[in-house]
Symmetry: C3
């Protein structure tokens, strides 16, 4: 199976099995990430009450935790859902949105790293750096460093926490399982749509649900994000239409579209 065939194999598996992806995510992106998961072929569910997250994580195929709009009850639910997911050995994706921007976010991300042991951490360069270097400073929730600048941090985090680290940026970098991948796909307009980073985390959860290698799941997800963004950008006149075409492209994605994939693995 070639690299492109392996990506297509995952897409096909998602479309065929419609894995249930349990998201505890932020208010801003709930709608858009649910739509992206549905467009890809997965079954999203959002549930955040402590009273039900164990049950929901108990029937899910993967868990995506995103700390973009935190509050204390949600943090407890994230930890509880994470424990269930860890016990069931289903993949957990952590998106440490805004880590470094406030103490609450940095601490919560570090706590979840400790208690929940995510298989994959997916963030931008500032966020990943904040989880390794305590002196790092994030400006809000946007990336202020390139993915390459964060490679050292990603490598350190991957070793410390024994997880795959997926850093989005102009070039995405994925580190783990002794390998480094760089994804050169994507479009400069994508950061102008809110929550496409969160969408990347959600789709990573869908790929992880069907692919036993967290590294491959993370790489495939970023490649598909990038390709779908590129095709969508060709039709879009701005970030508003980009967001819509992106969903359409995910839904209609064909094996030939993967010819666009530009990934190096070292």
């Amino acid at each position: 199976m070639t690299f492109l065939e392996a990506i297509w194999h995952d897409i096909d598996a998602i479309r065929t099995s419609a894995p249930l992806v349990h998201n505890i995510t932020n208010y801003v992106v709930m709608n858009t990430t649910a739509n992206a998961l549905l467009a890809l072929g997965a079954s999203p569910v959002m549930a955040h009450a402590r009273e039900e997250v164990e049950e929901m994580a108990g029937i899910a195929s993967s868990l995506v935790i995103n700390i973009g709009t935190l509050s204390p009850p949600w943090i407890e639910a994230m930890a509880t859902a994470g424990e269930t997911a860890a016990r069931r050995r289903i993949p957990i994706v952590l998106d440490p949105v805004g880590a470094g921007a406030t103490t609450l976010r940095t601490r919560t991300a570090l706590r979840l790293l400790e208690e929940v042991s995510p298989s994959i951490v997916r963030g931008n360069a500032s966020e990943i750096r904040a989880l390794v270097y305590t002196e790092a400073v994030t400006k809000g929730v946007d990336a202020t460093h390139g993915a390459d600048a964060a490679l050292d941090a990603a490598t350190a985090l991957s070793r410390q926490r024994r997880c795959v680290v997926s850093v989005s940026g102009e070039v995405d970098a994925i580190v783990g399982e002794g390998k480094v991948a760089r994804v050169h796909n994507g479009h400069p307009m994508m950061p102008r749509v809110t929550g496409l980073g969160c969408t990347a985390s959600a789709l990573t959860g869908a790929f992880a649900a069907v692919n036993p290698s967290p590294f491959s799941a993370a790489v495939h997800a970023m490649a598909v994000m990038g390709v779908a963004g590129e095709i969508a950008a060709e039709k879009a006149e701005g970030p508003g239409t980009l967001q819509l075409h992106f969903l359409d492209v995910l839904y209609r994605l064909e094996q030939d579209d993967l010819e666009r994939v530009r990934v190096e693995v070292a």
Copy 2:
């Protein structure tokens, strides 16, 4: 007045009177259901604090309760708003999102059925079954049974709770007031847009605000949903553009468009 004239009469009444529809709904769909209500001509309001739901339900023309992203304070607010709505005899629509998937959702839906006596329960087949057969199992929040398979459950629920039951699926089934309607409109791409079921519940709330028969309101809402979805799908290239065109079509709907309606009432 023919059946199609009766639907048009309701649309015209909604556009003319802009009934205030009070929604206590889930985070995922708040934006899209508010937009659908506005596009149809109604006035949506979202309010969920116990401290204000009595007042808001006190000025609304109908109440829509959707349990898609529950937590304990919201459940109390739903019960409180429901009591006010019941006392004022304004229509209440309950969407038991994910009933059967977790105990919290099933119990909450059953509690609201008991305490609030909704005029209309609108859900997919799995959810409706979960409210009647305690052994039913839901896979997340998506339908896993056809509407017809749920007809027995809908009939039982309608009798037990003296309410209209509206089950969405490939063919929608509406049961109540001694009748059964089947709506054959809609498009297979619609379930790939998150929250179109929730939108159906919200629009049902708008129709119930202007039509004294909950059965007719539920049937008219599902017919309009289906027709708007079909017209939108003709222009859409995927679920992203479908969602947008759906709103445009609702906004521009003309009486002639209702010629597409395919409803059997028995």
Copy 3:
């Protein structure tokens, strides 16, 4: 610098400096206001936990408080963030969504006016009236009076609270710093998109972050909203596509587009 050059100067400053706008806003519009801020060139961040709002307001360039879906913990966070912003003398925009509709909303808006001293209050006519005349009654969250009808209320509020008051309506009215501006831009389809008022408040926060005059910031924001809405409406077939084109237009806005601005200042 002419009036149009001054608007363009602000847009250019936003695009160049990407000011961090801290939003504590309602669930319905979080996604769309974040997208509008990104499309304009600002950096939005949403954060509402008491545990982090001081830190977030501590690094932001402006704070936007929107009471559209209130609950007690959010009210405390709004007050806390507002204190930090006031101490740092960064601009605060208050959107009193639904003031007059429920006691909780009216009281919260009045409390925030008292404790936080916003630089700019931006609402529709009913909401502004509710903050001045206690007998005013709002129908839900939609405007039921024209902006002109609210001019007296806006003038009174501006004097009482020493703030700029920006009232949206068919003609927008902005009062403060001894001046009154009327913005004649916009399109009748805009109120059919949920949260465009909230978007106006968010963009006002972005302009206030780069313009030292709250009055000018409020006028520039409403002019840009109106122009972008007009251009978007030319391409839109309804409120669904209007919302998307609106974001695209904000992103692509050029200096020549400002020729459409129709503002009188007296």
